[in-house]
Subunit: 348 residues, 2 copies
């Protein structure tokens, strides 16, 4: 099996290295081999080629059986509104060109980390939901977008078609069938035309999944309910921008953004990445939490290669580490281990 490795910027390379360690440990145990191909993306790619998602990288991704991605982003681009090329464009272009329309983000609480969550134990203990975030549409990609000629007005467009909504809604309904059979559509149908199309389309589809209980929630309400009653959620389905916001928000339930993996699925390609960003302040210090990346590798085994047992082995190893308090300083401030120590421990 052939895996494209896009380590990216900031802490991306450090955490990706630990995820590869975990994959290698699995390969060794089960007697197979993964073939890795490194490719450039983000600020690293701009520096080398002027392009945040170079053609060579796209080729690598397309010929791979799965893609493991680190993080992108560099502060030197963030406050320069006139930068012509930005690392994020590479990420967005990759999602679009590879057709990665469904971003799957599981959220759960870890007993060992209850003390570090800002939320009370009785609120979060037992939380287990998964967010399906649409990833190649909405206001991230809609046209027209840009500036008026005089530069004094800016605009973005949010656009969705029925078929874009249907394909991810089917995945979310199917996931609900394998879980607690509850699906919550998060939208802003009292204001947005696109949200009304989401609501209408998902409601229509629901007759194909009669066992799934479907409910609708406005995004402002959802942002509150995710903190107040996270255990109420099973599968959450939402559009691109709302999904971006509520999944980062939901990371507080686990205790750290550094823990959460994600899968981005398309018809031909699938990509796995921690939900955290490039965290440039931490880059090179050996303090980045590799668990989000390692669990992304676990998702890769399950989703891309259907290796469920192998996936579970990595998850169990992560749990064992957390249970004995072995982790980086973001989750165990008093005795934080280094990125590679944590990777070694989990892969041993």
């Amino acid at each position: 099996k052939n895996i494209a490795i896009l380590a990216g910027d900031g802490i991306g390379p450090e955490v990706t290295a630990e995820a590869v360690k975990a994959l290698d440990a699995i390969a060794e145990t089960f007697g197979y081999q993964f073939q890795y191909n490194d490719a450039l993306i983000g600020a690293a790619a701009i520096d080398a080629t002027g392009n945040p998602f170079p053609e060579a990288t796209e080729e690598s991704c397309k010929s791979a059986d799965a893609i493991l991605f680190g993080a992108i982003g560099d502060p030197k681009y963030d406050n320069d509104p006139n930068a012509k090329v930005r690392p994020e464009q590479g990420l967005l272009k990759m999602r679009k060109n590879l057709g990665l329309f469904a971003n799957v983000r599981p959220v759960s609480s870890y007993d060992a980390l209850l003390p570090i969550s800002p939320l009370k134990e009785n609120i979060i203990k037992g939380t287990d939901f998964v967010v399906f975030r649409e990833l190649t549409g909405g206001i991230y990609f809609g046209e027209p977008r840009g500036r008026s000629e005089d530069g004094n007005t800016a605009f973005d467009s949010c656009v969705y078609s029925k078929s874009e909504i249907e394909r991810i809604a089917h995945l979310a309904f199917k996931a609900a069938m394998n879980r607690r059979k509850k699906l919550t559509l998060v939208d802003k149908a009292n204001v947005l035309a696109t949200s009304r199309l989401w609501r209408e389309t998902v409601k229509d589809l629901s007759s194909q999944y009669p066992e799934v209980e479907l409910d609708f929630m406005f995004v402002d309400n959802a942002a509150m309910k995710i903190i107040q009653n996270p255990k109420d959620f099973d599968v959450v389905l939402t559009e691109n921008m709302f999904g971006d916001i509520i999944t980062d928000e939901a990371s507080v339930i686990s205790g750290s953004l550094g823990l959460l993996p994600s899968a981005s699925l398309g018809l031909k390609s699938s990509l796995f990445e921690p939900i955290h960003g490039s965290y440039p302040q931490a880059a090179g210090k050996g303090i980045a939490n590799p668990i989000g990346a390692i669990l992304s590798a676990a998702m890769l085994l399950e989703y891309a290669f259907d290796l469920k047992e192998e996936c579970q082995i990595i998850k169990d190893a992560v749990n064992s580490a957390l249970n004995i308090g072995y982790g980086t300083e973001d989750i165990f401030p008093d005795e934080g281990k280094s990125t590679s120590e944590v990777g070694d421990f989990i892969s041993q």
Copy 2:
């Protein structure tokens, strides 16, 4: 002084009645009189006139010195994507026609309510920030919006001009000058053209407020940080949709959405409303929390009439009630008082 009363739908009338009680108590104590004019809005206005913001209501608002608003929304419209008239249109039209461009939402923790917050005491104790949400622009109003001819595609537009950003940014900078001198702009400048205009415009303005420390935060990150470190925020400035989401989210800090007031300021008019919605399930049961509405009346006294002492008296009365555990069941589940008992107690 002349106050337009727009009680609206669901629990709107009940909580607004208690806010009026508080205003009357103040008027009596200080020996003045407020003149109230009731006007229709929302589903109530649709039922009576077919229009969620009738002209008579607009006239009432324009001739008033301040507007006290309850809530709008009725579930019979929420799941009907084809409803031609919806209550929310009345609210949005009112905001637009009255030019209420700055929605000011203070967020603070209440010591008496620390036990009911889903967040840990050490995280929230001492929180005190205020969100300036732009209210008449962005994706709430941008054109074009709607459906393609075949009905299979929907679109919304997010549009901002420099001057729209500047006028609210000035208010936010001024508020910061009277507070802890910190301003955080929340945006998504790594993806949206409108956010890049926000960032550029606010950065330019900041030279006029050299004492204010300005920082920028992506909305996904802000949604997380508001829960993890709410005490880090002083003044938050953001666009319409992001403000909608993060202020509802932030309500968990206080313990209940029912507690939070807001002011919507324009050049000629100002409107005061609790941030909660019409909560139709609770309507008529006497269980709605009137404190958000009562504190909105307090904001009215301060912002519209410059009656700072009177505003403080209401705030103190609310604090006294909370400190002895006198409140509705959303905040004191074991011995919840009724809406009007709480209003009476605070106004006594």
